[in-house]
């Protein structure tokens, strides 16, 4: 009986998150119809996620074979949805536990520290929970210890990241109503600092005329399909028809094959997104509901498009220059002996655009251009450096895209490898977070004084 509960019920991530949703819905005193549909949808979201992962793994496998044949190096496509969906097949329980308790730690920190942020970008919470779970498990920390340490790290990041950006976010939005809760934040922070350093007397991007026609790339399914088809075509051309038609496609024309594989990848991302949407549909509102009741003056930390309306031109400029930096990096990475990170339109669009807005706020046009390029380099080099610490998951042909995953993963992964004793690792990791809290608080005060003086 105990075995059934521990392994088959709680050990099945789909059922585990379903139980979280069920308890949350009952706690909110929802009617029976809402409880039943909410619980079932949450579980179904998880099952859909798994189905999407299977689709994506097939297309990724083909891409890797072609890329390797063409260039003799491994090519990796950073895509958060893909890597998390693949990881759920072995790290689902870890992800779900760290995510739930991380949210609780977030609420506690917001209640008892001066950081009043509630991190509402649920998919990023989930992705970060997954990555922390993978790294701790790979490093030999498991079970209850892993959940406790992982949730503290996650919960701390959920307030530290919005807090770090807040002085700049305030400058962009002209108010203190909301914060940015997005794990590309280190890229934005760097962009804002670069903007400050280079952007003296540079005029705002908003005085420029920029064509809005690139806006269609914000439609994720369009931009993923477009990137993947182009990527598959380029790689197919280099791998050559002979190899593809004899080894991979079973005789199908190599261009038709490449086209369909590109769209298969995009379809996988679409399925995963639908799954994530269903999975989080009940959990995030419940989280916000609890936080609003427990934390006075709670400030919502929102997904990065929240700041896009404040600098429409910087969004387009940021995306373009981040992507250019990604293309340059593709040629630089092999020189350092790293795997090639193929730039994706989605991470460069969302984080490049946000970096552009932050860079523009501190350094005008020059800030937006150079700041978003800095972000582009970060999200190319960090994923490449992250791969070795992801263990077996580092060989799936995909990885985490945004800057924070890279920095957090690299720091945690290398610490855990460097320090033999698990206990010592935990102490050092927690001390590091405490240090960041103290430093962050001091820094925020300093920046606040500067903004007041300026």
């Amino acid at each position: 009986m105990v075995d059934l509960i521990m392994n088959d019920v709680l050990g099945t991530p789909a059922i585990l998150v379903g139980i979280f949703a069920l308890v949350g819905l009952i706690a909110q005193r929802k009617n029976i119809a809402d409880v039943v549909s909410g619980t079932l949808k949450t579980i179904m979201g998880f099952v859909i996620l798994d189905a999407g992962a299977n689709v994506i793994v097939l297309a990724l496998g083909q891409f890797s074979s072609m890329f390797n044949e063409a260039f003799n190096v491994d090519g990796v496509i950073p895509n958060n949805e893909a890597i998390v969906a693949v990881a759920q097949q072995s790290f689902g329980t870890e992800t779900a536990m760290i995510m739930l308790f991380g949210m609780i730690v977030n609420i506690l920190l917001a209640r008892f520290t001066p950081y009043k942020y509630i991190f509402l970008t649920g998919h990023h919470t989930m992705f970060m929970a997954c990555m922390i779970g993978v790294i701790l498990t790979t490093g030999g920390i498991t079970g209850v210890t892993m959940v406790v340490v992982g949730s503290i790290i996650l919960g701390a990041l959920m307030v530290l990241s919005p807090a770090m950006l807040q002085p700049f976010t305030r400058k962009i939005t002209g108010s203190d109503d909301f914060a940015i809760g997005h794990f590309g934040s280190i890229g934005y922070f760097v962009s804002a600092l670069v903007g400050k350093a280079v952007g003296k007397n540079s005029k705002s991007t908003e005085e420029l005329k920029v064509p809005k026609s690139l806006g269609f790339l914000r439609d994720t399914s369009v931009s993923v399909s477009l990137t993947m088809v182009i990527l598959f075509f380029v790689v197919a051309a280099f791998a050559g028809p002979a190899f593809i038609e004899s080894e991979l496609s079973g005789g199908q024309n190599f261009l038709v094959f490449a086209f369909l594989q590109g769209l298969t990848f995009a379809a996988g991302v679409y399925i995963i997104l639908a799954g994530v949407r269903m999975l989080l549909g009940e959990i995030v509102p419940a989280f916000k509901g609890v936080a609003d009741r427990i934390v006075p003056n709670a400030k919502p930390a929102l997904d990065c498009p929240a700041i896009f309306p404040f600098a429409g031109n910087a969004v387009i400029i940021g995306f373009l220059f981040s992507f250019i930096a990604g293309l340059i990096s593709m040629f630089l990475l092999p020189l350092f002996g790293l795997k090639v990170i193929v730039p994706g339109l989605v991470p460069h669009f969302f984080t490049g655009a946000a970096a552009g807005v932050f860079g523009n706020a501190t350094g005008g046009r020059r800030g937006a251009v150079i700041g978003s390029m800095a972000n582009g380099f970060l999200i190319s080099f960090l994923p490449a450096l992250l791969l070795p610490v992801l263990g077996t998951l580092g060989f799936e042909g995909t990885t985490f895209g945004d800057a924070d995953f890279g920095v957090v993963g690299i720091v945690l992964g290398n610490l855990i490898n460097l320090i033999q004793s698990n206990l010592l690792f935990i102490v050092i990791a927690l001390a590091l977070i405490a240090g960041l809290f103290a430093l962050g608080w001091k820094k925020v005060q300093k920046v606040e004084e500067e903004t007041k003086a300026a």
């Binding site: 994720t220 399914s221 549909g281 995030v284 929102l302 498009p305």
Partner: protein, 88 residues
Amino acid sequence: MKKILVVCGNGLGSSMIVEMNVNAILKDLGKEADVSHTDLATAKSEQADVYLGSEDIVESLEDGKKNVVKLKNLMDKNELREALENNL
């Protein structure tokens, strides 16, 4: 009951936040509606009485038949409230 569909590029982050804001405002106004959120591609084929989203995103939904409400600032609750009052 009317159905409101909130749309954003990914259908995950901002549209979900706006959905929560819509629910709060509706409660405040004493009105009821069926609210959900999704991404742009799905929105094109999903039926709803009101499609809500930021200007540059939902523009491409307009086909002459859909009731598309374009918001300048997605996070501005006053603008959202006005849009809801005018369209329900």
